[in-house]
C-alpha cells in the first residue's frame, strides 16, 4: 500500500480514459494512473471502445464530428462510477464541454450531463474526491511544475499535484515565475501557427531554465511533448515527465523524448 486514502471507504469502479496521446506516445502515464487509482482503493477498468475526446474536431469548428465522437465516448463510459483522465484538457472536454454539444437533443444532453458529473482529471480525483494526501514514491532532484491551462482554469487543478509531490521522498520543488502561462501547445494551434507557438514555448523554456530545476512535470501530455521538444531542441538537459509517473514511483523511466537506455 503506497497511498493513504483518508476518505475512500470501499473500492470504486473507475474507468480510465487513457487519452489518445498517452495511448500512442506514453503508455506509462496510463499505467501510472492505474497504479495511483488502485493504491487509493479503486478498481480500474479500461473500456475498449474509447479513442479520443474529440477536441481536434471541436476546436476546429467541426461540430458534427465532435458530436459523433462524444456519443461514442458517452457509450463507452456508460455505467462507471467515475471516469478519470490523466489530462486536464481531455477531462475538461468531458466534464465541461460535452453537454453543450447536445442542446437540441434532450436525451443525449442528459447522458452527456451524467457523464460530465462523474468525469475527473486524475490529480483532482485523487485529492479532491478520494482524499489522498500522500504517496509513497521516491524521486531525486529538483522539479518544477507547469499548470496546464484547461486543468487550471476549467477544473481548478493547482494545489492537488503540488500537495502530492510534497510527499515524494527526495523531491525538491521550485516554482516558475509564471507557471500558469500557456506553453503554446494548444492542440492543432502549435502546427497551424508554429511561429507564435514557438515564441510562447521559448518563453516557457526560459522560465523553466531559470528555476534551475532538473525536471519539469505537468499533468497533460500534449503540453509536455511541446515543452520537451523545445527544451531538447535548445540542448537543455531538463528531464520532462508526466506528474503521475513520478507520483507512482515510476520516475526511473526514460523521460519524454529521451532514448530508453534499458531497451536499446
Amino acid at each position: 500500500m503506497s497511498i493513504s486514502p483518508s476518505r475512500s471507504t470501499h473500492p470504486r469502479r473507475v474507468a480510465l480514459f487513457v487519452t489518445c496521446l498517452v495511448d500512442l506516445f506514453r503508455p506509462s502515464v496510463g499505467f501510472a494512473a492505474i497504479k495511483l487509482l488502485e493504491d487509493a482503493g479503486c478498481s480500474v477498468e479500461v473500456p475498449p471502445l474509447q479513442v479520443c475526446c474529440g477536441q481536434p474536431a471541436y476546436n476546429s469548428g467541426d461540430r458534427e464530428t465532435t458530436r459523433a465522437i462524444a456519443t461514442q465516448i458517452i457509450d463507452a463510459f456508460e455505467g462507471y462510477e467515475a471516469v478519470v483522465a490523466p489530462s486536464g484538457s481531455c477531462g475538461g472536454m468531458l466534464s465541461h464541454h460535452y453537454p453543450g454539444l447536445f442542446d437540441d437533443d434532450p436525451a443525449m444532453k442528459a447522458r452527456a450531463e451524467n457523464l460530465a458529473g462523474r468525469s475527473f482529471e486524475l490529480m483532482s480525483f485523487l485529492v479532491d474526491v478520494l482524499g489522498v494526501e500522500k504517496v509513497a514514491a521516491h524521486y531525486d532532484g529538483t522539479v518544477t511544475y507547469h499548470d496546464s491551462c484547461s486543468g487550471l482554469r476549467e477544473l481548478g487543478v493547482k494545489v492537488q499535484p503540488r500537495r502530492l509531490l510534497n510527499s515524494v521522498e527526495g523531491l525538491r520543488f521550485c516554482e516558475m515565475k509564471t507557471p500558469e502561462v500557456c506553453c503554446g501547445f494548444g492542440g492543432t494551434f502549435c502546427v497551424k501557427y508554429p511561429e507564435i507557438s514557438n515564441a510562447m514555448v521559448g518563453e516557457k523554456s526560459a522560465d523553466i531554465l531559470n528555476t534551475g530545476a532538473q525536471t519539469l512535470l505537468a499533468g497533460d501530455l500534449g503540453c509536455l511533448m511541446n515543452m520537451a521538444g523545445k527544451l531538447q531542441r535548445e540542448g537543455s538537459p531538463v528531464q520532462v515527465r508526466h506528474v503521475a509517473e513520478v507520483l507512482a514511483d515510476m520516475g526511473n523511466l526514460a523521460p519524454i523524448g529521451a532514448p530508453d537506455e534499458g531497451k536499446r
Partner: protein
C-alpha cells in the same frame, strides 16, 4: 482603418522579427497582469463586482432599444443632439457635417477606438480638417502615421527611444531641437506642444466609456485629462459612441467603473472621470455651446440575439489582451485592424467579415486566461470557437485542415481500425526514434519540427495493445 487581418501570418512574422516591439511587449506582459492581480486582491468584493458588472450589461443589452431612446430623450432635454449612425460611412458624414457647420479647421480628439473603427481621421483630412490626437499615445502614433496597437495603450508597441526619435523629428520645426531621453521630459514637451492645439481647436471629439440613460450623460475616463480639455475648450463637443455603451443608471456606472480601472491598469480609479451632461448651461463658467452625441451601430445590432451577443458586454478595458500569450508574442498590429487580442478576435470578424479576419479566432490556444480576467465575464474562447464553427460551415477552414480532420474523424469513429493503424504508427515511430528518443525532422510534421524535436513513443506498443496483451490487468512497462 484599412484591414491587414487577412495577412495575419505575415504580420506575425514581421512582429516576431521586430526587436523594438519584442522589447516593449516584455514590459507589457509583466506590468499589466501583475498590477491587475494586486488590484483585484486588494478588493475583497472584486469577484462579486464582476458578476454585477456582467448582469448590468446583460440587462442593458436585453433592453437596448428602451435605454437608447431614454438616453436620447434626456440629451435632447438638456439641449443636446443625438445622431443615429447605422454605418461607419453615416458616422463619418454626420461628424464631417457637424465640423463644417462651425467652419472647423482643427478637431481636438481624445482617444476613441470607435473613431479608428470608422477611419475618421483620414476622412477629416480629406475634407481639409486637421484631427489632433491629444492622448499622448495617440499623439505619438499620429506623428508616426501608425495605427494603435492596444485599445487602452495605443503606443505600447514603441520603446522610449523610438518616441524620443519621433519627437525630435516632428518637434524640431517647432523649435525643440534637443533629443530627450527622460520620460518626464518627453511628456512635458508633448504637453507644451499640445496645449496650444487645445486652445485653437474648433471642435472637441471624444469617445465614451458609458452612456448613462437616466441622466443623458456620457462618461469618460482618462489618465491624462486630455479629454476634459477636448470637451470644455472648443465651442462644439461631439461624442462618438456605439450602441452597446448605454447603461441604465449612474449607480450602474459606479459598479462598472470599479471593475474597469482595476482590470485595465490596476488602478482603483482612473485619474480623471468625466461626466458630460449636455452643453454649457446659463451660468456655467465653461463648456461647449453645442453638444452632439453620434451613436454608431456598424453591425452590432446584428449580434443581438445571437450566440455572439456576449461580446457586446465588453467595456474595453484591455485586460484580455494584457493577459493573452498570443498578443504578448506578436503585439496588436499583427491582428491587422482596430481591435486586437481576444476581444478583437471575436469582434473583428463581426465588423469586417470573417472571410477577411478568418485567422483571428483561430490564432488562440484557448488557454482561457482572457476569460479568467474579463471584468464582465465574456466567455471569449467559446465565442472564438463559434467563429471557427461558422468558418467550418462556410468552408473557410483551410483545405489541408479540413482533409486532415476528415481522415482523423473517420478513424476516430472506428475504434478497431484506429487501434490497428495507431499500433502500426506507434511501432514505426518507436523503432526509428529508438536511438535518439526523438525526431529532429518528421514528414508531415514540419510545423512542429521546425522549432521543436518530436518525442518518439515509448517502446512496447500502444497503451491499449499492452493492456490487451496482459489480459486487462495492470502491468509495469
Amino acid at each position: 482603418m484599412q484591414s491587414t487581418a487577412h495577412d495575419f501570418k505575415d504580420n506575425v512574422g514581421a512582429a516576431l522579427a521586430n526587436p523594438n516591439l519584442q522589447e516593449s511587449l516584455t514590459m507589457l506582459k509583466v506590468g499589466f497582469s501583475e498590477r491587475r492581480r494586486l488590484a483585484a486582491e486588494r478588493l475583497p468584493e472584486f469577484e462579486a463586482l464582476r458578476d454585477r458588472a456582467r448582469d448590468i450589461k446583460n440587462h442593458a443589452l436585453a433592453n437596448l432599444d428602451f435605454y437608447l431612446e431614454e438616453f436620447e430623450r434626456k440629451v435632447i432635454g438638456l439641449g443636446g443632439h443625438v445622431h443615429w449612425a447605422p454605418t461607419a460611412a453615416d458616422a463619418r458624414r454626420i461628424i464631417a457635417e457637424l465640423c463644417q457647420s462651425v467652419g472647423a479647421r482643427t478637431v481636438a480628439k481624445s482617444k476613441s477606438m470607435v473613431a479608428e473603427e470608422i477611419a475618421l481621421n483620414e476622412h477629416l483630412e480629406a475634407i481639409g480638417i486637421a484631427p489632433i490626437e491629444t492622448d499622448l499615445g495617440e499623439y505619438i502614433i499620429q506623428l508616426r502615421n501608425e495605427p494603435p496597437s492596444h485599445i487602452i495603450a495605443p503606443a505600447v508597441h514603441l520603446t522610449k527611444d523610438q518616441v524620443a526619435d519621433t519627437f525630435l523629428e516632428h518637434h524640431t520645426p517647432l523649435g525643440f531641437t534637443k533629443r530627450l531621453t527622460e520620460r518626464n521630459d518627453l511628456v512635458a514637451e508633448a504637453r507644451y506642444v499640445l496645449r496650444q492645439k487645445f486652445l485653437d481647436a474648433d471642435v472637441g471629439l471624444t469617445g465614451a466609456n458609458f452612456l448613462v440613460a437616466e441622466t443623458g450623460s456620457s462618461m469618460l475616463v482618462t489618465n491624462e485629462g486630455n479629454a476634459d480639455l477636448s470637451n470644455t475648450l472648443p465651442k462644439m463637443h461631439i461624442v462618438l459612441a456605439t450602441i452597446e455603451k448605454v447603461i441604465p443608471t449612474l449607480e450602474d456606472a459606479a459598479v462598472l467603473l470599479r471593475v474597469l480601472a482595476r482590470s485595465a491598469t490596476g488602478q482603483e480609479s482612473s485619474a480623471y472621470t468625466t461626466l458630460n451632461t449636455g452643453p454649457k448651461r446659463a451660468g456655467d463658467l465653461d463648456g461647449p455651446s453645442a453638444y452632439h452625441v453620434v451613436i454608431l451601430d456598424n453591425g452590432r445590432s446584428n449580434v443581438l440575439g445571437t450566440e455572439m451577443q456576449e461580446i457586446l458586454r465588453c467595456i474595453r478595458c484591455g485586460a484580455c489582451m494584457n493577459h493573452c500569450p498570443v498578443y504578448g508574442a506578436v503585439g496588436g498590429h499583427a491582428y491587422g485592424w482596430v481591435y486586437p487580442g481576444p476581444m478583437g478576435a471575436v469582434l473583428t470578424p463581426q465588423l469586417i467579415g470573417v472571410e477577411e479576419a478568418s485567422n483571428l479566432p483561430n490564432a488562440s490556444t484557448f488557454c482561457g486566461r482572457c476569460e479568467s480576467v474579463c471584468p464582465v465575464r465574456i466567455p471569449l474562447p467559446k465565442l472564438m470557437r463559434h467563429w471557427r464553427e461558422r468558418e467550418f460551415e462556410r468552408h473557410l477552414t483551410p483545405k489541408a485542415v479540413r482533409q486532415g480532420l476528415a481522415l482523423w474523424g473517420f478513424l476516430a469513429r472506428r475504434p478497431k481500425l484506429y487501434r490497428r493503424l495507431t499500433g502500426i504508427a506507434n511501432r514505426v515511430l518507436a523503432l526509428f526514434g529508438r536511438a535518439e528518443g526523438r525526431y529532429g525532422a518528421l514528414p508531415l510534421a514540419g510545423g512542429w519540427t521546425r522549432f521543436r524535436d518530436f518525442p518518439a513513443p515509448q517502446p512496447g506498443g500502444t497503451f491499449h495493445s499492452q493492456w490487451a496483451r496482459h489480459g486487462g490487468t495492470r502491468t509495469r512497462p
